[in-house]
């Protein structure tokens, strides 16, 4: 799932402080594509992609957004109980997801639909838990993509432990842990930093700072940019323009390479924006201004790459039209699949609590069967 010709260099020694230089209030962030779609260079991170690869990234983002939008619609129609939209975070997710290798392992939080896409997880499989038919509808080991984790921050430790195991195996795979700006406050994330540093585990911490944790702005979590957190634990942190898919790809690839060559953990803060509500249950008008969103629409990750593709003549109308058709087909498939997604059998409650069985589960299952049978009897 890697865009292999990505020519991201390993960060030089100096790159530990990449982005640490402040420019007029805001910390510098790694950017390779301006909001207007201009390619720019960065001293520590570079990338060189073929037109096909660039179109591929564009396609990934467009399909992900379409899928996401369709899921939101399905929630409104009552087909899903809830949906957590990634709207606005497509570049952060596709850029980082495409930086991973097949043998890398990904630990997502609950919003990484774009990363799941890159890993080859069928998007319809993501919908089961939001529909309420399961708590995680895919086999994590099939795509090395762990289940969504809802308890904020927990998965950072799982990723670190997994990475410690990778190192023990002498493998050159890397691990990436996703979490949000809000999650950065959880003790588990801090402990993950400590373990990763102490054991020099091959794990990349990928923080999507979308500037909101439900209704709380990032200032409720930190008073300095989050990427700086890493330094105090003894590994580098860098802030990347999270709406710039090229920069995210380059930085993540560099961080993963660094990890796989034994240089240990790294923290990436992808500075982005949650364009929609926290979830379909949320009402952001209660806590933030429309203006903020409008400001960020100008930095839209998809428009930005489209502008680049168009300006450089890297994609033609036929490409965009075909992609539109593909999007529609994806949306339709998602719709059809969800609508026919069966409810689990009642007895599923008694499955999988244990791998080796448990006497009480057996007893309760038997009681339940008898209880249900009693209705059948009554009806007879």
């Amino acid at each position: 799932m890697t865009v292999d010709s990505t020519a991201a260099r390993k960060p030089r020694r100096s790159s530990k402080r990449a982005g640490a230089k402040k420019a007029a209030g805001e910390p510098e962030l790694v950017q390779l594509l301006t909001p207007e779609g201009e390619r720019v260079e960065h001293p520590d991170y570079s990338i060189d992609l073929s037109p096909e690869e660039l179109r591929g990234l564009y396609r990934d983002m467009v399909l992900t957004r379409r899928f996401d939008g369709e899921a939101t619609t399905l929630q409104r129609q009552g087909e899903l109980g809830l949906w957590a939209s990634l709207l606005g975070q497509e570049a952060a997710q596709i850029g980082s997801g495409r930086a991973t290798r097949d043998d890398d392992y990904v630990f997502p939080t609950y919003r990484e639909h774009g990363v799941a896409w890159c890993r080859g997880v069928d998007p319809t499989n993501l919908l089961g838990m939001f529909r309420g038919v399961n708590h995680g509808g895919w086999d994590p080991n099939e795509n090395n993509f762990h289940l969504y984790t809802i308890v904020i921050g927990s998965q950072a430790l799982h990723a670190t432990g997994y990475a410690m195991g990778v190192a023990k195996d002498g493998a050159d795979s890397a691990v990436i842990a996703y979490f949000g700006d809000g999650a950065s406050s959880q003790g588990d994330v801090a402990e993950a930093f400590t373990f990763a540093a102490v054991y020099n585990a091959p794990v990349v911490f990928f923080c999507q700072n979308n500037q909101w944790a439900i209704s709380e702005p990032t200032e409720r979590q930190t008073r300095v940019p989050l990427y700086q957190r890493a330094q105090g634990y003894g590994f580098p942190g860098v802030r990347v323009d999270g709406n710039d898919v090229l920069a995210v790809l380059a930085v993540t690839k560099a961080a993963l390479d660094r990890a796989r060559t034994g240089e240990g953990p790294m923290l990436i803060e992808a500075f982005t924006y949650r364009m929609g509500a926290h979830t379909t249950s949320d009402d952001p008008t209660r806590y933030r201004l429309d203006e903020e969103r409008e400001l960020w629409e100008a930095k839209d990750p998809i428009l930005r790459l489209r502008a680049h593709l168009e300006k450089q003549g890297l994609a033609d109308e036929a490409f965009f039209a075909a992609l539109e058709t593909e999007s529609d087909a994806l949306a339709k498939r998602v719709r059809d699949t969800v609508r026919t997604m069966p409810d689990p059998e009642d007895m599923a409650m008694f499955e999988h609590t244990y791998a080796d069985g448990h006497a009480l589960v057996d007893e309760e299952r038997a009681q339940f069967v008898a209880y249900q049978a009693s209705f059948a009897e009554e009806t007879n």
């Binding site: 109980g81 809830l82 089961g128 838990m129 939001f130 529909r131 309420g132 038919v133 399961n134 708590h135 809802i150 308890v151 904020i152 809000g182 999650a183 406050s185 959880q186 003790g187 588990d188 944790a213 439900i214 209704s215 709380e216 409720r220 979590q221 249950s281 949320d282 009402d283 209660r286 806590y287 409810d343 689990p344 009642d346 599923a348 409650m349 008694f350 609590t353 448990h358 009480l360 589960v361 309760e364 339940f368 209880y371 009693s374 209705f375």
Partner: protein, 326 residues
């Protein structure tokens, strides 16, 4: 008298408002409790009226929330802490169990910990994982905590008042699936004792004991049973630590049969403690073993299965029939 018809959510809101108005030491804190008013709007409008110093949006860290609330209590404040959902209390469990619960005893009574922890709990709202659990037994087993759960708006209001006034830490479980149930709240009434159970329906054949969201279910069960000529008494326990065993005993000495209903898993749940103690107290009165209706020994299931997992009317009545069959 000043009676209003309020939902449970609004009653808690009104109670917090009263507390913030009358005691400058009362604080409200938690994730998203400010501008958003909490994900269930229970703290709606409070930050607007009492400011960010009294109604505090916290970092996303439950141990930090409870740990700093303890510190503020030591400074003389009375924090009312919100845990956003039942399944997210566990990062704070260490602070609750090893610090909040034990500090008063550790200090031989020299310091007090008037901290209220609000936890919306229970299922039947069609939510994703971790949003539908009933972990009350995990707090009741721990000495130093008081554990309560209202089932109606008036109790929601008054039990919150009393919880805040208590000098002990109180875990206040809010029956989230009943947030929108309405009831009369008389904000000038003189409330009864915080930990006393209440008979919400009199009966002679069997006692149903429940608290929080299951009280309504039990009342429905009693109504259904009445149609079949069975007279069920329903007790709203209101408090899970302490438990008003005297009230249960009185009822069981009359009805001679007891069924305990809760959403939490049966294994090691409240029903076990009630069954054990009431059997001891009423050994010669009981015509049937105390039966328990609750969740299964399984993680709370995906929401499409929750109707099967949760005790509903049918399962309560099934146990009633089984108890009456003895």
């Amino acid at each position: 008298m000043s009676t209003q018809k309020l939902t449970i959510a609004k009653a808690i809101n009104a109670s917090l408002r009263t507390a913030l108005e009358t005691d400058p030491k009362v604080l409200v804190m938690g994730e998203d409790v400010g501008k958003l008013g909490g994900v269930f709007r229970v703290t709606d409008g409070l930050q607007k009226d009492f400011g960010e110093e009294r109604v505090i949006d916290t970092p996303l860290a439950e141990s930090g929330i409870v740990g700093t609330a303890i510190g503020m209590a030591l400074r003389g404040y009375r924090p009312v802490v919100e845990i956003q959902f039942d399944g997210f209390v566990f990062p704070a469990y260490d602070q609750i169990v090893t610090q909040l619960a034990k500090m008063h005893a550790r200090a031989l009574g020299k310091i007090k910990l008037p901290v209220v922890i609000r936890i919306p709990y229970g299922g039947a709202i069609g939510a994703v994982e971790h949003h539908s659990e009933s972990p009350e037994a995990l707090f009741a087993h721990v000495a130093g905590l008081k554990v309560i759960s209202p089932s109606n708006a008036a109790d929601a209001y008054w039990m919150m008042q009393q919880a805040i006034q208590s000098d002990d830490p109180v875990i206040y479980f809010e029956p989230k699936r009943r947030y929108h149930d309405r009831g009369d709240v008389d904000t000038t009434a003189i409330p009864g004792p915080l930990h006393a159970a209440r008979t919400v329906r009199e009966g002679t054949d069997l006692t149903l004991v429940a608290y929080g969201p299951m009280v309504k279910t039990c009342l429905e069960a009693a109504a259904a049973a009445a149609e079949e000529g069975k007279s069920l008494e329903v007790l709203d326990l209101r408090s899970v630590s302490p438990i008003d065993f005297d009230a249960i005993q009185r009822s069981v000495e009359k009805t001679r049969r007891l069924v305990v209903v809760h959403e939490a898993p049966v294994f090691f749940g409240s029903g076990a403690e009630i069954a054990a103690r009431i059997t001891e107290r009423c050994f010669y009165h009981l015509e049937a073993p105390v039966l328990r209706v609750g969740g299964y020994h399984a993680p709370y299931p995906p929401s499409r299965l929750e109707d099967e997992y949760l005790p509903g009317l049918d399962r309560v009545l099934d146990s009633v029939d089984r108890a009456l069959a003895y």
